[in-house]
Symmetry: C2
């Protein structure tokens, strides 16, 4: 269930109602592929203002299906708020997983124990029904941009197959109260993007995700494809742009009317020492921070910025202390959650456009 | 300042008064060699009931002396309770640090940037004075047990030098309110242990540490050496057995009259998947835990045992998720802190001996 609560141009705020709570959109989901967000506990996630994250049904299936199913994914991971699961379609891009694709489904090999399986759309839904996330994703055939992103016929096949699989997913879905989102594809081809978005939207699922973006194409292309897709999705559906997570990209996408994001980008950056701050990106490993006994971002209210200094974070990072990754991941996630909270407030006040340009002026500044 | 508050046989409880609070003994210190306890934040340390930890002055000197000195070690690390620093004597056992030892001091090479230094006892104190820990340690010449632990003459030389260095440390110490502990050595030679303990104790420092133990000798030898040393230390001095951290070893040592412990043993075990529980050790990676939707230790009140199951911890550990190391380290530290809290209560009630045997009955049980 989704309701729109405010609009400013194409940007909007809304509420996604799920079995584990109602969440204001636009929101950002950290990625817990294997059942945990890297270097974060669920206690820290909650403290970071995260209310929804996304895990991966295929990975959980391969690693510990019985236990997750028995406890339910919320119980297994100790999370009382919202959880999405991805279906496993994205693992088509992972050589460690993919064996082959056909109309029937995807043949995968587990990188964990070598076991093999044929993931049909019906089974992708059945697994997700049993794991019990609040929002589940249809199985999609993600065209591999690096391998054949410019091959119209191949992308067309994958895009049309994604639609047929979405139909099968809809039919297979049996879990009342669990929302099912379709995923549209189309690669970098405007016609395919428009057709796919229209067709997936017409299935009348609970939401529409934009897949196969942010996987190697240029930012301009990504932006254009997102805009084209959105133009074919009815306004009352929540729109989820998969794989996007940089502050500037998310603000652009919110302006287009995107409601939901997920990405490992903030935590990946943190692990490599790149921190988001209101005064620009900080690469904490640089010598210049060695003696700076000031917060990473004086404007940030996260516990890392309140309790620790740049000098200490620099010290931990350069000493390869594991704590560095936890503190830096926490800050980046909190920074994003705060940013989206501010964006929601700005949209409700009709000031999003101003908010966005003011934020970007500080954020795109030279490293302090 | 140290006061004894209760006694049962040789075991005792007391209070160590420092510039950052008064701490009940016996207590256990996690090890923050490079300025952080592995996989733990200071927020988690506090939650684990830790009130005092030990860091390493030589490592901080080599990595970020200026910033730590400017902020003070408490400010730098964001810790308002007690901090010990070790002097750098222990790094004599580390090939990555040691160049040579002479009567003047120890020549070290920094494994971080290759820089060299001569650490005299006077400088070991000066560095620690400037870092500002609550309790600092004299520089000791630790006999390398693996290399010449059985060579009486070599151990005698190191032991006597340790005394001369302790005298120099006492003379060099200038920081009012900062406690200075001496360290006695003696290897596995009873006469040397007794002489060293007596001589160090007679310097009248704020406490006496037993060094050069738990570095390869048998448990029986360690126990005997500790007992001999204690017999030569006046009762009113706090006694610190360096490097000990297993539940059973600490209970034995408490029975001998030890007041303070430090060790990386609980966190090292945790990282390798070995957890302390009231019903025995658990090796969480074992298949048998894969579907156990029950707490690691139902008798434990730590947030890991309250919020997560063995199946989830097994899953994280087997998936090499970084969160595994944090949750497991937290549990082991909390378990130790709880154990020492119970030990203190038992001593005050005159029931330590009973408490110890009851605990060990459960703890030494077969893996559940």
């Amino acid at each position: 269930m989704f309701e729109i609560t405010a609009k400013e141009g194409a940007a909007r705020t809304g509420i996604l109602h799920t079995a584990h709570g109602s969440f204001e959109t636009p929101f950002f989901m950290p990625v817990a592929t294997k059942g945990a967000v890297k270097h974060m506990s669920q206690e820290l996630l909650e403290q970071s203002k995260t209310r929804v994250f996304i895990s991966n049904a295929l990975v959980l299936y391969f690693t510990n299906f019985d236990a997750v199913r028995a406890a339910g994914i919320h119980g297994f991971m100790n999370w009382k708020h919202g959880i999405f699961t991805d279906s496993g379609g994205f693992q088509i891009l992972r050589e460690g997983f993919l064996l082959s694709i056909s109309e029937i489904g995807v043949r995968y090999r587990s990188p964990f124990d070598g076991s093999r399986m044929l993931l049909k759309p019906e089974q992708a839904i059945d697994i997700q029904n049993k794991l019990g996330a609040d929002v589940i994703m249809a199985l999609d055939d993600v065209p591999d941009y690096a391998k054949y992103g410019n091959d119209f016929e191949k992308v067309k096949l994958a895009t049309e197959r994604t639609y047929r699989w979405a139909e099968r997913c809809k039919k297979a879905h049996r879990q009342k109260g669990q929302l099912l989102f379709g995923i549209c594809q189309g690669g970098i081809f405007p016609e395919l993007r428009k057709e796919s978005a229209k067709a997936i939207a017409e299935l009348g699922l609970d939401g529409v995700a934009l897949g196969g973006l942010s996987i190697g194409e240029s930012k301009e292309t990504m932006h254009a494809m997102a805009q084209l897709s959105i133009s074919r999705i009815p306004e009352d559906k929540p729109r989820y742009l998969m794989g996007l997570g940089s502050p500037e990209d998310m603000l652009e996408a919110i302006e287009l009317g995107i409601d939901i994001f997920d990405s490992a980008f903030p935590t990946q950056n943190a692990r490599h020492g790149t921190l988001f701050t209101s005064a620009g990106k900080v690469r904490i490993g640089k010598q210049q921070y060695k003696a700076q006994l000031v917060p990473l971002d004086a404007a940030c209210s996260c516990f890392v910025c309140r309790n620790y200094t740049k000098a200490y974070l620099h010290h931990l990072f350069r000493s390869a202390e594991p704590l560095a990754k936890t503190l830096l991941s926490f800050h980046n996630i909190y920074f994003i959650q705060e940013l989206l909270e501010q964006a929601r407030i700005a949209i409700r006040q009709g000031k999003f456009s101003k908010f966005k340009s003011e934020f970007l002026r500080g954020y795109k500044a030279k490293e302090p």
